[in-house]
């Protein structure tokens, strides 16, 4: 059985190769893109910030499990916000019917 270090190195190489393969495919696809999308740009910038933070955090070699769990909380909160926003948009497009009051 390979040592944990060997496993980590192999995983790193595998990940890097997979990334290279998909980067090529994605770069080719992006050449056909003309749509400017603020959300996509935001996602891209978030990725850049994440990489920069990884370099910064990786300098001391520590991992904080609580910080990892906090990332999950961000997902839950953001999706809940999306659901609320979608509900508001639906109400704006199709206002809900007023409640029916019983005839006297």
């Amino acid at each position: 059985m390979p040592s944990p270090k060997t496993t980590a190195v192999l995983a790193t190489i595998t990940t890097g190769l997979s990334a290279l393969e998909v980067i090529g495919e994605t770069a080719a696809s992006l050449l056909g893109l003309t749509t400017f999308d603020a959300a996509a740009v935001h996602a891209f910038l978030a990725g850049v910030v994440a990489v920069v933070n990884a370099f910064k955090n990786g300098a001391d070699g520590t991992l904080d499990p609580e910080a990892i769990n906090a990332e999950l909380d961000k997902l839950t909160t953001s999706i809940a916000d999306n659901d609320v926003a979608a509900g508001v948009q639906l109400d704006e497009k199709f206002p809900p019917a007023p409640p029916v009051t019983p005839a006297p």
Binding site: T12, I13, F44, I68, I79
Partner: protein, 132 residues
């Protein structure tokens, strides 16, 4: 037409995830703490998948509402999509929990499980974004 042309956010998502994976893979291979850096790389890839997914989710729900011709149809479309979305949310949770666990351990199985979970969520998000 290439499927990614119709889904610009999906294309950007792939670019972000792959850039993050590539950069952090290089980082991991150049430092002494292989395990910590490998977990960092996996966390970044899952974070990138999350950010791309959140942006896509917002746009997709908006498009469902735009395509709806009545309130009932809109409500049904949103409910149907959210049912499809739930397994993705569950997979994100598994991935983050596995990474948090791996960060507290030193054994090989926890690292393998965390990396597998991280790969699973990236694949699942790509599949959902490309298939809807």
């Amino acid at each position: 037409m290439n499927r990614l042309h119709r889904y610009p956010i999906a294309a950007y998502f792939l670019l972000v995830v792959c850039s993050a994976l590539f950069a952090t893979s290089l980082m991991a291979s150049c430092t002494s703490s292989q395990r910590a850096d490998t977990i960092h790389a996996a966390v970044i890839s899952v974070d990138a998948a999350r950010d791309g997914f959140v942006a896509w989710d917002r746009d997709h729900q908006q498009s469902l509402i735009d395509q709806s011709t009545s309130r009932d149809i809109g409500l049904k479309a949103l409910a149907s999509y959210r049912d499809q979305r739930q397994p993705i949310m569950d997979t994100f949770e598994v991935a983050y929990r596995a990474l948090a666990l791996a960060a507290t351990q030193t054994d090989d199985p926890s690292l393998k499980a965390a990396l597998s979970s991280a790969g699973d969520i990236v694949d699942a998000v790509k599949k959902l974004m490309g298939g809807l």
